[in-house]
């Protein structure tokens, strides 16, 4: 179950002009399960602007520390990536969201750029549970994959992709998916990538594809009803019923 507590920024690495890797020391330790996320304040002390906390995938957990991978995307993430310095005290609510455990023993993680933050830890947990885990991690250029230095110690079997061929295989992370039809796919990345994989899955009639979605959220705990997405079974809260949804319940308008 989740908690709200203080989280001290212990380490911050700027990975590119838009990405940062953060290690936070949390005052109250809670087990982070696959695909869970946190809500983090994105303001300086005594400021209430931006007002809302931001949802971020939890990249890993070790003792009382959690790792985050954040892209400067808007007003809140910009403050975190660019302005906030080490030893800063955030207010965090975590771990949130419905944990996702696939039934099959072979899991393919498909991560596009910052999407790695949403599913990487799931891969580590599945591997520890004895499942066969394969990670496909793609970005536009090598810079987008800098985070790999912090992830390689978890020894997930990984294939990298870059669109410009500057690192790993040249091309899109989605290009080789048909080689993994006997795996359950867990996907997180930019909308265009997720939509493309959604369409491919529909074409292949593959039913065990799951998407970890990201929407604007106000509370993260299921009370504001602001993060709903459209599904075949009506509106669902991304923070509570999600963030992971199956291809069978999603529609094109869900993304």
């Amino acid at each position: 179950m989740f908690t709200q507590c203080e989280a001290v920024l212990e380490e911050k690495r700027i990975l590119s002009e838009k990405d940062a890797f953060l290690v936070l020391k949390v005052k109250e330790k809670k087990e982070v399960k696959p695909c869970q996320f946190c809500m983090l304040t994105a303001t300086f002390k005594k400021s209430f602007d931006p007002f809302l906390k931001r949802p971020f995938g939890i990249l890993f957990q070790k003792d009382d520390k959690i790792g985050l991978f954040i892209r400067n995307f808007g007003r809140g993430s910009s403050i975190i990536v660019k302005d906030i310095k080490e030893s800063f005290k955030f207010d965090i609510t975590y771990p949130l969201g419905n944990p996702f455990y696939p039934k099959k023993d072979k899991i393919l993680l498909v991560a596009g750029g910052i999407g790695i933050a949403g599913i990487f830890w799931a891969g580590v947990v599945y591997k520890n549970l004895g499942k066969k885990v394969k990670l496909l991690f793609g970005g536009r250029t090598e810079k987008d994959l800098e985070i790999r230095y912090f992830l390689e110690k978890y020894n997930l079997d990984t294939t990298y992709y870059t669109e410009d061929g500057s690192f790993g295989k040249k091309g899109l992370v989605s290009q080789d998916l048909e080689n993994y039809l006997d795996y359950t796919w867990l996907v997180c990345g930019p909308k265009a990538m997720m939509k493309a994989i959604f369409e491919l899955g529909k074409k292949l009639n593959k039913k065990d594809i799951f998407f970890s979605l990201d929407t604007y959220m106000a509370c993260g705990i299921g009370v504001c009803l602001g993060c709903t997405i459209e599904t075949k079974n009506g509106y669902k809260r991304c923070c509570k019923e999600g963030p992971v949804f199956s291809i069978e319940e999603l529609m094109e308008s869900s993304f």
Binding site: Q4, P50, F51, L52, C219, G226, C227
Partner: protein, 309 residues
């Protein structure tokens, strides 16, 4: 320290309420603090039948605030009675049911259904559109409001609180309508109508175009309405609801005449805020050498007298 406050026929254990629409049905806040000792829950607005709410996107963050277009999504009265009210009652969490309908008939049927609960009161949401009056909100037309309140009073077995809309040019006549109907508990106010546009795609951000504005940005606006409403009559018990973010905001509302306060959007940012404010309130009362919350209200009332010379 005694923090109880008496409104008309309702006594609250503390002057803090969790605002409708920002706390679900309050149960999840048990993870953050002892709800029954800290605050009174005002449920998500309930309608007779389930309402799926508005299509996404439903949120838009502004500078120091947010716009929402949730569309009063709720599970409906039957689910509330079956699954939610028993849980609140088992945990002895004091709660008020926020109610709304698309016409007066629906309000009446809803109240009749909910009368059997142990709710402390109904908070009547009059900011919802009255379908029979072309969508104008009940709370934006004096005659409509009067008729609605008269009809609800006939069937209600509970005390009423009217949650007034701030989207009016003068709130005082609306307060008077409530008092004329012998309703003395009044929530001031609700979200402000606002709008956001998606400049990239040259269209409104929300599918319903308009949305409700809340958060720190609206506090000075509601502070004024609370002051004006509380001056209408000594008999009016004003419950302030608008942009409370810090404990200082809480005190400001009490100073201008509120007897209780609702915490809304702040719950999204700091879910422990009610418990923190409760502790701060105790310390503040003590710092003035007072003993109870009601003494603090008296103290502020004396201070207010000097404003009107």
């Amino acid at each position: 320290m005694e923090l109880k406050v008496s409104l008309k026929n309702i006594t609250l254990k503390t002057p803090f309420l969790l605002a409708s629409g920002t706390c679900g049905f309050g149960l999840i806040f048990e993870k953050f603090f002892d709800v029954k000792e800290t605050a009174t829950v005002i449920t998500k607005g309930l309608s007779l039948n389930p309402n799926p709410g508005n299509p996404p996107p439903r949120l838009y963050e502004t500078y120091a605030g947010l716009l929402n277009s949730i569309g009063l999504e709720n599970p409906g009265a039957d689910t509330f009675l079956k699954d939610i009210a028993p849980k609140l009652e088992k945990k002895k969490i004091p709660y008020i049911i926020n109610i709304y309908g698309k016409d007066i008939d629906e309000f009446i049927k809803l109240v009749e259904k909910l009368n059997k609960t142990q709710a402390l009161a109904y908070e009547v949401n009059v900011s919802c559109p009255n379908v029979k009056k072309g969508g104008l909100a009940f709370g934006q037309d004096l005659d409509t409001l009067k008729t609605l309140l008269k009809e609800i009073k006939k069937v209600s077995k509970k005390e009423l609180i009217v949650k007034l809309s701030p989207n009016v040019s003068d709130i005082k006549p609306f307060v008077k309508v409530c008092l004329d109907e012998n309703i003395f508990n009044i929530t001031v106010a609700n979200t402000y109508l606002g709008m956001a546009v998606d400049l990239k795609n040259f269209k409104p951000h929300f599918k319903r175009i308009y949305a409700g504005y809340s958060g720190p940005a609206i506090k000075p606006l509601t502070l004024r309405f609370v002051y004006e409403a509380s001056k209408v009559s000594e008999k009016a018990n004003i419950i302030a609801s608008g942009g409370i973010t810090t404990f200082k905001d809480v005190l400001e509302y009490f100073l201008v005449g509120a007897k209780a306060v609702q915490l809304g959007s702040i719950l999204f940012r700091d879910s422990k805020a009610p418990a923190k404010f409760k502790e701060s309130l105790k310390a503040y009362i003590k710092s003035l050498n007072l003993n109870t919350f009601e003494e603090l209200l008296e103290f502020f009332k004396e201070k207010r007298k000097a404003w009107e010379v």
